[in-house]
């Protein structure tokens, strides 16, 4: 048994516990509270004067797969992010340096239908223990014209072209499901995966930014029936009502929306706040390595500078909301009895830029200590 004592525990879902104790057994949290009895055989982790914070969750990264797409076709539902997963990627270390313990990692966004993403912890004893959910979603991308790295046929260039590719793939899957049921066709791995999407066993995670894209996606959703998340969503606040009516979550980012350019003239940090106020579940993302995952909490802090979101709202966007969107909230996202003992010890409140991540724990094991790794001078 382990006991984290003396710190201010930010549980996320159960408020803050000043001088709280977190009891851990077999990698799980068994109790959280003030003045809990610490068993004499427990290994004590002293967090006096520190903040104990639930492991952060980044709901959209390319760690281990570095954002690559299989660009042999705009429709590749049969490819799996896990088959590209390189556990040596230093992005996992950068995640720990930033207090991030669970991520979604996903194929890139060159394809209309890009393959399956997975949810994985940023450290752990084995791949088997680290993977929380696989597949965790079907990556799709509504990405037009010059904003698409792979061009030329059969890649679509217009919004209606993208819709056409997506609708065709889903219609073919409907046909496949009927004919497969009758035993008329051989198994098709890609269509099996899309069938999971149409049966709502797997959400589509759709790279999309603007109202024209989001309205089209909702139209296709009405036609075929599936669950989806908005990935990036820098102008999603312009259709916040429609998204809220459908209960569609937004994985907002990378960054707080301060990096502006001509393509998304309405982009801004207020976007995340408007979505939140409309009742939409918002989680933040870094899209690592596009933006460094180490900055995940800093992006959250910047939302506080520019909006009237509260620290509590933002912490949820960095933890439990991402866990719920990833479908792993039974395991991670808060400091609660029964969940995995994934947490970090910060020198100060985690939304302060100058607060340091001092120690990181996953399933009760210390997996990181002492900040950033620096190479030695020559």
């Amino acid at each position: 048994m382990k006991a984290v004592t003396g710190g201010k525990v930010l549980t996320i879902t159960q408020g803050e516990v000043e001088g709280g104790v977190v009891l851990i057994e077999d990698g799980k949290i068994v109790a959280v509270g003030r003045g809990l009895q610490v068993p004499s055989d427990a290994k004590v982790i002293d967090a006096t004067g520190k903040h104990v914070v639930a492991g952060l969750i980044d709901a959209h990264t390319h760690i281990g797969a570095s954002g690559f797409s299989e660009t042999t076709s705009p429709v590749t539902p049969h490819v799996r992010g896990i088959d590209a997963l390189d556990l040596r990627d230093p992005g996992f270390d950068e995640a720990l340096e930033g207090g991030v313990t669970t991520i979604i990692t996903t194929p890139g966004s060159a394809n209309v239908i890009g393959g399956t993403s997975l949810v994985i912890k940023t450290a752990g004893r084995s791949l088997k223990e680290r993977v929380l959910r696989n597949p965790a979603g079907m990556k799709m991308a509504w990405r037009k014209g010059t904003n698409r790295p792979s061009q030329g046929p059969p890649y679509p260039v217009s919004h209606m072209g993208i819709a056409g590719v997506l609708r065709n793939a889903l219609a073919e899957t409907q046909n496949y499901m009927v004919r497969r049921e009758k035993g008329e066709v051989a198994e098709d791995l890609g269509k099996e995966m899309l069938a999971k999407v149409l049966r709502r066993e797997l959400p589509a995670r759709i790279h999309s930014f603007t109202p024209v894209e989001l309205l089209a996606i909702m139209r296709v959703q009405d036609e075929f029936g599936f669950d989806f998340t908005v990935e990036h969503g820098f102008e999603a606040h312009l259709v916040a009502e429609q998204l809220a009516e459908r209960g569609i979550p937004v994985v907002y980012g990378p960054g707080p929306g301060t990096r502006r350019h001509k393509m998304f003239p309405q982009r801004g940090p207020h976007g995340a706040a408007i979505l939140h106020k409309a009742g939409i579940k918002v989680s933040l993302q870094t899209d690592h390595p596009d933006r460094s995952i180490k900055e995940h909490r800093i992006f959250g802090a910047i939302l506080l500078r520019y909006t009237d979101l509260t620290p509590d709202d933002v912490l949820r966007m960095l933890t439990i909301n991402g866990a719920e969107i990833a479908g792993v909230a039974d395991r991670v996202g808060s400091i609660e009895p029964g969940k995995d003992a994934d947490f970090s010890i910060f020198s100060d409140h985690p939304l302060k830029v100058q607060a340091r991540v001092e120690q990181v724990f996953i399933s009760g094991d210390k997996v990181w200590e002492g900040g950033e790794t620096v190479a030695k001078p020559y």
């Binding site: 992005g91 014209g145 350019h261 001509k262 800093i298 802090a301 910047i302 950033e372 620096v374 030695k376």
Partner: protein
């Protein structure tokens, strides 16, 4: 006449920090700083009790105005038709409509250096001699935004991105020594051009060599994009060979050759330190450390920090300085890295970078630690004009 009173003033100048101080502004300039400054009757007074004042921030490395349309397929940062682009001027690509200028003012970044030669999103390429940089103010009507220094430097580059640039155009060279050989050849040609007194009226005028002559005669420094430690040493060697003034831009592995840097006296504009070191597209970042600014400053290197806007948005400048503090940089040094050090490196410290009598009245008032994200900027004064104000009663939060 304007008086901002009762602030805790980080002057970033010899006066260091003044508690309960007053800054008196007249004709766009700072007329007096300190405690016990007499306030003339006609002065408009702003009470900044409980607030912290800094100079307007200075970002020593941006591409503002040059690439805000990049994702729409347009970008004006890097000319690819020639290898040596010494004759090109960043100012001719700066679109004053870029909304980032307004963002900069709101974030208290009142002066920026704008460099040509930026890596593109899907093309990690840059020309070895990218063109001439400009220093300008960020506030004011777009056609009247003040240029403080032009040309302010010659943007050059070494490393992987240059090799890729040359390879992608099938023109070589593509090895590190080959690229350095190319640049030495060009600088040598410029030496001869200068020594033979060619120029306008000689019938032999060459705009590229003319611009490089400015570097050779030390009228402007070379601002050199360089990440890797071996490339840093190469640049220092090249600078010595030609007797030119250098500024290292990015200096990602500077902490690995900190002694050589300190000995050289060459200043470094470090960053952006918020980038991922695990980027496969940018292998030169694999040793990126947020500790680098602190390590270099502690060794006596003059350090400025950058956003590299739009790589990081200009608004992040003070937050980036806060990250440097978290990783060991002395807070006073981190603040200087986005004010006076930057101004000195850019050659405009006579005008901006500190709160001193005679300098431009560029002032920022914060409601807390200027290097924390949650702190809000309550007042920005640029050249003596109030351009952001949520401090006085009845004013909307900017």
């Amino acid at each position: 006449m304007l008086a901002v009173v009762n602030a805790r003033i980080h002057t970033c100048g010899p006066g260091r920090t003044i508690d309960g101080g007053t800054v008196l502004v007249q004709n766009g300039k700072i007329a007096a700083v300190g405690t016990g400054v007499g306030i003339p009757d006609q002065a408009e007074t702003i009470d900044a009790r409980g607030m912290v004042m800094t100079p307007g921030f200075v970002d020593a490395h941006t591409h503002m105005g040059m690439s805000w349309q990049e994702l729409a397929g347009e970008a004006d940062t890097n000319e690819s038709t020639g290898v040596v682009n010494a004759h090109l001027r960043a100012i001719d690509s700066v679109d004053p409509k870029d909304i980032a200028f307004g963002d900069a003012v709101e974030a208290g970044a009142t002066t920026v250096m704008i460099h040509p030669g930026k890596l593109m999103v899907w093309r990690q390429t840059i020309s070895p001699i990218a063109g001439q940089s400009v220093v300008m103010k960020t506030h004011g009507k777009m056609a009247r935004r003040e240029i403080l220094r032009e040309p302010a430097g010659m943007k050059m580059a070494f490393g992987d991105a240059v090799a890729e640039f040359l390879t992608s155009r099938n023109i070589g060279p593509n090895s590190r020594m080959g690229i350095v050989g190319l640049v030495r050849g060009v600088l040598h040609e410029a030496q001869q051009y200068r020594d033979k007194g060619r120029g306008n009226g000689s019938g032999d005028r060459d705009l590229k060599l003319e611009a490089l002559s400015l570097v050779l005669s030390r009228q402007i420094p070379a601002h050199v994009h360089v990440h890797r430690a071996d490339d840093i040493l190469t640049v220092l060697r090249l600078g010595q060979e030609f007797g030119i003034d250098l500024v290292l831009e990015h200096a990602t592995e500077g902490h690995l050759v900190v002694e050589a840097l300190a000995e050289s006296g060459v200043p470094c504009v470090v960053g952006p330190i918020t980038r991922a070191r695990s980027s496969r597209a940018m292998r030169e970042l694999q040793n990126l450390s947020q500790k680098t600014p602190g390590i270099l400053a502690a060794a006596g290197v003059k350090v400025a920090l950058m956003t590299d806007h739009p790589t990081e948005p200009i608004q992040f400048l003070p937050i980036i300085a806060g990250e440097a503090v978290r990783e060991g940089m002395v807070p006073e040094e981190a603040l200087k890295a986005i004010t006076i050090n930057a101004a000195e490196i850019m050659g405009v410290a006579d005008r901006v970078g500190s709160i001193e009598v005679g300098k431009d009245a560029d002032l920022v008032v914060h409601d807390g630690d200027p290097l924390e994200a949650m702190t809000r900027i309550r007042l920005v004064v640029a050249d003596g004009q109030v351009v952001v104000d949520s401090l006085r009663q009845g004013k909307e939060n900017a």
